[in-house]
Symmetry: C2
Subunit: 379 residues, 2 copies
């Protein structure tokens, strides 16, 4: 396997684009990534499009708009990890030498489904019984509060931190800060969550151009190396499980760190899958930023805020950016690549050299997840 680099990234501001088609949502992000990479359309050997609910031929519909045709286009679905799984396929294809340059797209149009409810699979036992995501993470939060003494105020501070970061990100759906009081007094969703504990729904797109590191010099884009690309599925164990341990993330992180030859102590910036406030805290622990029960301390002492030693979600995370399911994975990569290139302006993590993205989802079988992806990048 050859080393692979990201040489171009692009995304559109996440939001509600009811009047646009899926292709219209995506193509500006793709165009931005291509220009950023400095590749010609004909340099692109293959394209992977991650989307959870975009419908048949999503990638083909997007790329037709740009005249990028006649190449292998493969659509990848892995729930929240759709475009990060698509990225891994591109990483394998380029690493193997089957392709020199590949394009990765993440796109979703959730406004297509009207309100906030997505077409979940009723064949999934848990979904059929109402264990949808806010309920699932609400239970996890309750358990964590019980086990480790996390307070409602501390939990609200995750949203406060994310929204503070998001206010600095022109691509975030929510670009205003909120207070602990505002978070706690918002509309209740699933105890202990109010609306501001939950990431907003919406539409969005993100894209990345990858190539073999050995040929990155042919193009004008600033290369950021891929140290690890990892996708995992849950174990679906029966019997007792600790619902505050996201096993799939713990296992994936171990594999990714080993592959990259770095540890959590080496990572300067993290983008993690904070679909709900509690999730971010659970992932501090699962990714090795701290021990069990210590997440609140990292939040309270500013370690994971911009300016701290281990900034998490400088983009504002899903809580600020929104979570157009298939677009999220590559959007996290866009942020980390821009951080490693020092292009993030007021939200820049100074001197960031190594970054990690973490995306997990597909709530099949309750506390195990269907797909978790972890990527590590370095400049």
């Amino acid at each position: 396997m050859r080393e692979v680099s990201v040489i171009g990234v692009g995304m559109i501001p996440f939001g509600k684009y009811r009047e646009k088609t899926l292709a219209e949502i995506a193509w500006p992000a793709v165009k931005q990534a291509i220009i950023d990479a400095g590749v010609k359309k004909t340099d692109i050997n293959a394209a992977y499009c991650g989307t959870a609910l975009g419908g048949m031929m999503s990638g083909q519909r997007v790329l037709k708009q740009l005249g990028i045709t006649g190449l292998p286009i493969v659509n990848v679905e892995n729930a929240c990890s759709s475009s990060s799984s698509a990225f891994r396929e591109a990483w394998i294809g380029v690493g193997a030498g089957v392709y020199d340059v590949a394009l990765v797209i993440g796109v979703e149009k959730l406004t297509k489904f009207g309100g906030g409810t997505l077409p979940l699979e009723k064949e999934d036992f848990e979904v059929a019984h109402g264990l949808v995501m806010p309920a699932l993470y609400g239970m996890r939060a309750q358990r964590y509060m019980h086990d480790y003494g996390l307070t409602p105020e501390q939990l609200a501070k995750v949203a406060v931190k994310s929204r503070k970061h998001g206010a600095l990100n022109p691509d975030a759906q929510f670009r205003n800060a909120v207070t602990v009081e505002e978070v706690m007094k918002a509309r209740p969703i699933a105890e202990p969550f109010t609306l501001l504990h939950c990431c907003p729904s919406g539409d969005g797109a993100a894209a990345a151009v990858v190539c073999a590191s050995e040929i990155a010099g042919r193009f004008s884009g600033k290369p950021v190396r891929v140290l690890a690309s990892e996708v995992n599925s849950g174990r679906y164990m029966t019997g007792y499980r600790d619902m505050t341990t996201p096993e799939i993330t713990v296992r994936g992180a171990h594999e990714a760190y080993e592959l990259a030859g770095v540890g959590p102590e080496d990572v300067d910036v993290f983008e993690v899958h904070d679909a709900f406030t509690i999730a971010e805290l659970l992932y501090y622990e699962a990714l090795g930023l701290c021990g069990r029960g210590e997440a609140a301390r990292l939040l309270e002492d500013g370690t994971t805020s911009l300016g701290g030693k281990k900034p998490v979600n400088p983009s504002g995370g899903l809580l600020s950016k929104g979570h157009p399911v298939g677009a999220t994975g590559v959007a996290q990569m866009v942020e980390v690549v821009r951080q490693l290139r020092g292009e993030c302006g007021p939200r820049q993590v100074e001197g960031a050299r190594v970054g990690l993205t973490h995306c997990t989802g597909g709530g099949i079988s309750g506390f195990d997840h269907g797909a978790c992806s972890i990527h590590i990048f370095a400049n």
Copy 2:
């Protein structure tokens, strides 16, 4: 890239399984492939699940039933080429050495949508204007009849041949032969097609286990080598196009033959994407079995029938087997692998050594297709 072999295949008889879940449709095919390969569940390093309309986390839902968990599972959508595109991703992953053994699944439950109408994307210009598949292929048939003097009787004979083959295949949805008269007198669908010119809708699943050829000896499955794996997308050209030339198949065939180091003259058995009778004839020409306008001759003189020199669709093709979209690509491979292993009983192509599968679909932008996949295998 290492050479890759198929060491196990499985499928269920295609049909209508309204009472079963997607996972219940798929797992028996997967189990059959695993037993056929002689691999243990823990030998499998990754799984790819091709499905066009199975919904989120299809692969995860299937594999959970078999306790195959904790590995990378990636769902692939490419319309009719969904599972053949999934196969290509497995081929790349194993070829690259990222995995030693990978599982490929194709599955679809079309009865979920009630009748014959699938949830097509209205954002597609042609779909929005009613250019659905029977209409599109009907026009192609009209044009071919006009240009080359193909008669309605000859066109009907494609269905007669396919159903004759299908009668020998226990996995086919239709297992009875039909006459030219029956085909021509069936219910009209889109001139010149009657119902029997069109493949039936339905549910189905197929699976394959692939591994690096260099380690195939570790397992008991009989290896069949993958000589070429190719996926392409259409060019979406504006202006005049010859609607009887499936450009994407012509281009893909050239690439696949070059990669495999064989030509059409070397291929002993073909499984092609005969969603409609005319399609099979167009693909004789596109795959290089004959020149332009000569397809009817190959059909009439028995060249492409069982017992002829170049049998096409010994399985009965989509016209007999049915076309559960995401399952079709791997189901074609199941047939070709079994043919190359000499296991097809009354429909065996004697001495078959090289086989080709061709799957194309995603009718975006009319006569160009969104995804075409061609695979060449040898024993």
